[in-house]
């Protein structure tokens, strides 16, 4: 079963094209939706909720067509908008209970679920205070709680880390990771920061100007590369020369030496060479791809076209 499947999805607002010919097949789990501001992330979420009709193409969420099955989808999906959406004169408890009822939960169930959900997102005594006095971190937690209160199969989180300080950002990412693993709820998380999604997502969809740029699993994006990073105690010059003599591809960057180890024996060569020179080997680790390379590659490709 795919979580979300779109086929040639296009949305135009007059002459502005927000989403163009988007075809993706997203599997259950936590998926990051990455793109610059205005790349069409929020528009895509609204189409998936059945709130905006697509101009062309089709989309389905949890195997239901967004064009015809909007209400059924919205019953199974939670949505955390990017903007503030909390009335300041209500307490978090009242608000989340109300939102639970608005998702179809009977009142007693809504109360229980609200208490549970608020505890899970980390709001305790403060949930009995009016939300007008909450910090940004607390407000984000309440917004997340109202998206989870009806125990959805999927949550759409629009910029959940927006406006949070580094500690709050870590807490929020940890919560999102728990939603995916411990709660067993799939999530689509939008962000314009790739680095933070790397930590919590199973897959990444990158869109730019409404087009699909790349769709891959985090594992493949951050897979190992055939490069080993070495840091030695002492002069690098002799080491570099020796390694080149041994027929390895080597480059040096500051204190670090990068060695191409496509051949498995290369590890031994590096070890023996370092030992032979009487240097201290401080570090030797396999280099991993970083997600930001997706954007770096694109910039290179773009530059090549020009």
């Amino acid at each position: 079963m795919s979580l979300i499947r779109t086929e040639g999805l296009t949305k135009r607002f007059g002459s502005v094209t927000a989403v163009e010919g988007l075809s993706v097949d997203v599997q259950p789990g936590v998926t990051g939706l990455v793109g610059a501001n205005g790349a069409g992330k929020s528009t895509l979420l609204k189409i998936l909720l059945g709130l905006l009709p697509a101009t062309e193409g089709t989309a389905s969420v949890l195997d239901r067509d967004v064009a015809t099955d909007g209400p059924a989808i919205r019953e199974l999906v939670g949505y955390m908008p990017e903007h503030d959406c909390l009335p300041p004169d209500m307490t978090a408890t009242e608000f989340v209970v109300h939102m639970g009822r608005m998702s179809g939960l009977p009142t007693t169930a809504a109360r229980e679920r609200a208490a549970d959900t608020l505890r899970h997102v980390g709001l305790y005594e403060e949930r009995y205070r009016p939300m007008g006095g909450y910090s940004t971190g607390m407000r984000q937690r309440v917004k997340l709680a109202q998206a989870l209160v009806h125990d959805p199969a999927l949550v759409l989180l629009d910029e959940p880390t927006n406006g949070l300080d580094p500690a709050g950002r870590d807490d929020m990412l940890e919560l999102i990771r728990r939603i995916g693993t411990e709660f067993g709820i799939s999530a689509i998380v939008t962000s314009h920061l790739l680095g933070e999604l790397e930590r919590v997502c199973d897959g990444i969809v990158v869109i730019d100007a409404g087009r699909l740029l790349r769709h891959s699993t985090t594992a493949s994006v951050t897979a190992e590369t055939p490069v080993v990073t070495i840091e030695v105690d002492g002069e690098q010059e002799a080491l570099l020369a020796r390694l080149r003599e041994a027929g390895l591809t080597v480059r040096s960057e500051g204190r670090l030496v990068y060695v191409d180890v496509a051949d498995v024996t290369a590890h031994d060569v590096v070890r023996d060479t370092v030992a032979g020179l009487g240097l201290g080997l401080l570090r030797m680790e396999r280099q991993r791809h970083r997600m930001t390379e997706i954007f770096a590659d694109r910039t290179d490709a773009g530059a090549a076209h020009v």
Partner: protein, 298 residues
Amino acid sequence: MSEPDTSPVSTGAIHDIGYRHYDGPRLGASYIRRSLFVETLRGAYGLGRSARSKIMPFLLLGVMVLPAVVMAIVTGYFRFDALPVRYTEYPILLQVAVTIFLGAQAPAVMSRDLRFRVAPLYFSRPLSRNQYVQAKYAGMAVALFILMGLPTTLLLVGALLAELPLGDQLPDYLRAMGGVAIYAVVLAGVGLVVAAMTPRRGLGVAAVVGVLLVLSGLRAAVGEMAREFGNATFQGYTGLISPFTTVDGVVTGVLGAEPTVGEGPPGALGTVVFVAVAVLLVAGCYAALLGRYRKALS
């Protein structure tokens, strides 16, 4: 399905029982609409809100009820053989209080969700925009119905305690309650549409009160001019200017009450026109509210 993780946390008495899934019933859109209606009605009287939000609605409810209670007591004490006012007259006499209530509470009901951008949360749930508007509209209308119906009913109770014959009182009371229902629906529509135009609360209050008072004043002025010129038919139709007198015209024409202000609709044709205007007004308000929420997505 639950994933019990009952290992006690060493730091205290709170046991982390892990995330529990919900497998109870999920009630459909009609339950949600009903819940939103109840929430709206309670909110219109400040129930479930801060103490400060209760002051205005209950003050105005007091203003509406007090004259009715006084009249009932006076009628009983002096053994009058009729109430000092007709039931149908009562809402018009206190139209300023009704207007202020509508002005104060229509923004609380309507623009609150726009101002704090709560509306997208409703629309990302099973409720449709149609049902959202229905729940809000019904909540406001019933709040107004209580505001006007309660004192009208107290008048009846007072009259009966003063041992006035029920047979004399009941027809006019029922006419008045029918009128109150029409007032509630028409005024709620006008108030909500005006309030939905602006997300700013203060502006909404001023706009609702302003629109209703200006229209009332305009009607009085034009009606007076028509009377000076001796054009009775035209004077009758001036009632269409203000929502209050439009409804009064409907109550007069259809339910057979005596006109409270002006002359009432001129003849059968006039009655038809007044009813048509009232129906169009309500339909127009409903359509305008739907239109307002069509673009209130983000």
